[in-house]
């Protein structure tokens, strides 16, 4: 009684996504650019590594090496949200403006089946895109660089794919929320894009202003004072940047894919002793330790995705659905 409803809607949503021109276009674009970036990186690696011993974790470099422009992970961090937004921005208000929503809710299905099925179908599409994209690049890497990934590299990639699915699902959840709140599909599309631009690009800028306002870096002769100011300032900037899902995602993925990175922080204050210990222990971090570093980010990503979907669910369940 309950499952047939969610399954029927899920099936229809999947059919809709597969025949949706805009989804196919954005996916084609992202797959194309992703593959181009990875193959450029692969080819330059091939050049550089001629006649040299292959370093550890070379396979992961395919995803993290920046090459000429930016790395694959940076690219997904930047444009991945677009996939989520395109999957979700008209999920509910398309049914509303097509006047099919009132018909749908008068069938013997639970109302949450509608929104759950739409969310699940979107997550399935995101999973399909991400998994196939990573597989294509892995295949390309094996051909170009000629190394087969080790077990640890595979695990790191699996965690990376999970992080990416969560990240894009968060954006889909936000877009579905806008589609519940706004009646017009144009408004919800613009609102999703505005939120994406704000949270991805302007939080960092705002964080800088905020840090300068709270903890200004004054020109002083006193070294200790200047250092303190600098630490405080960058701490505030960092705290503000964690509001941005893109920063969360970027920090998490760069740590999980690069075993040599031991902290997601870009700025670490080191004394002479730390510097010494760092140079003596230049070994990669074991997988488990990388996971421990990434865990807070993973949990935050899960949390914001669920909070977003939860709000969306509550608003939708409380809304009155009229035909006019």
């Amino acid at each position: 009684m309950t499952l047939h409803g969610i399954f029927t809607i899920y099936r229809k949503e999947m059919e809709d996504h597969f025949s949706s021109m805009r989804f196919l276009l954005i996916t084609a674009l992202i797959v194309m650019v992703g593959v181009i970036i990875a193959s450029m990186v692969g080819m330059s690696m091939q050049e550089e590594l001629k006649g040299m011993a292959k370093p550890d974790f070379i396979f992961l470099l395919l995803f993290t090496s920046t090459g000429k422009l930016f790395s694959f992970t940076q690219f997904i961090g930047l444009l991945g949200p677009l996939i989520g937004i395109i999957l979700g921005f008209d999920a509910i208000n398309r049914e509303r403006s097509g006047r099919t929503l009132s018909k749908l809710v008068s069938q013997p299905i639970y109302r949450d089946a509608i929104i759950n099925a739409k969310f699940l179908a979107g997550v399935t599409m995101i999973t399909l895109v991400m998994v196939s994209l990573v597989l294509i690049i892995a295949g390309l890497g094996i051909r170009l660089v000629g190394v087969v990934p080790g077990a640890e590299e595979v695990w790191r990639l699996v965690i990376y794919v999970i992080l990416s699915i969560l990240y894009i699902s968060f954006w889909m959840g936000a877009a579905i929320l806008f589609s519940v709140v706004f009646k017009s599909t144009a408004t919800s599309a613009l609102a999703s894009l505005a939120a994406w631009i704000f949270l991805s690009f302007f939080i960092g800028l705002g964080g800088g202003f905020l840090a300068d306002a709270i903890a200004p870096m004054n020109q002083t002769a006193d070294m200790a004072q200047a250092t303190d100011d600098f630490i405080k300032n960058s701490e505030i900037q960092r705290a503000a940047s964690l509001l941005s899902p893109m920063t969360l995602y970027g920090d998490a993925t760069s740590t999980i894919l690069d075993p040599l990175r031991k902290t997601p922080r870009s700025f670490v204050l080191m004394g002479p002793l730390e510097r010494l210990s760092l140079s003596r222990f230049q070994n990669p971090l074991p997988l488990l330790q990388s996971v421990v570093v990434v865990a807070p980010f993973l949990i935050s990503l899960i949390a914001i995705t669920f909070v977003c979907f939860g709000i969306c669910y509550l608003v939708f369940m409380r809304q009155e659905i009229r035909s006019t």
Partner: protein
Amino acid sequence: MVIRMEELTKRYGAQTAVDRLSLEVREGEVFGFLGPNGAGKTTTMLMLLGLTEPTSGQVRVCGFDPARNPLKVKALIGYLPENVGFYDDMDARQNLRYIARLNGIPDRVSAARIAKLLEEVDLAKESDKKVGSYSKGMRQRLGIAEVLVKEPRVVFLDEPTVGLDPDGTSRMLDLIHSLSRDRKMTIFFSSHLLDQVQRISDRIGIMIKGKLVAAGPLAELAQRGLGGEAGESYSLEEIYMKYFKEG
């Protein structure tokens, strides 16, 4: 009694959309719910369907409370909203099959039923065209087919003839009438047009500004509308206008 409402009230903030409505609809009858736009007809229907909760009062549809047991009620009733929408990029058959699936009807059962229904509403020839290309009249008839695909006991039709041309209206009314005659379904339909309600209803209710001002068979209403002046025949229109002015 298939539908029973007692002191049913719905308020939106300070505004009362439906005010202490008490009404009963019997099994197998065609009940015409008459009233000007904004009288609270749609809100009443939404409460009967369990799509909105009443502020106070009681509703029973087929013995169930739609606010508590929405799924049971929705399995037994069919609802055609005003200006019903379809998935325009699917054809008529696909639209009907989707609704059948949502009702848990397997495809092998629904296929024959859908073919028969499309024949009945005179859309069999156009059933492979995308619904987006349908005219208003065709969409309304497809709406009726969609309501019938789950074989409901009670059918709610909200303004089923609005926006149709005279020929379309006439076909629609005949179709509604045949549901009650041939399938013995209970029909609860709303309209703001008197002559239509008059033509096919067994009983009518007149709602004005959230209040049910009169309910009963037309002859009885006419009697009451007449008051003491026996012998004169009043049309429903005169009664309607009389209540309308009073309300």
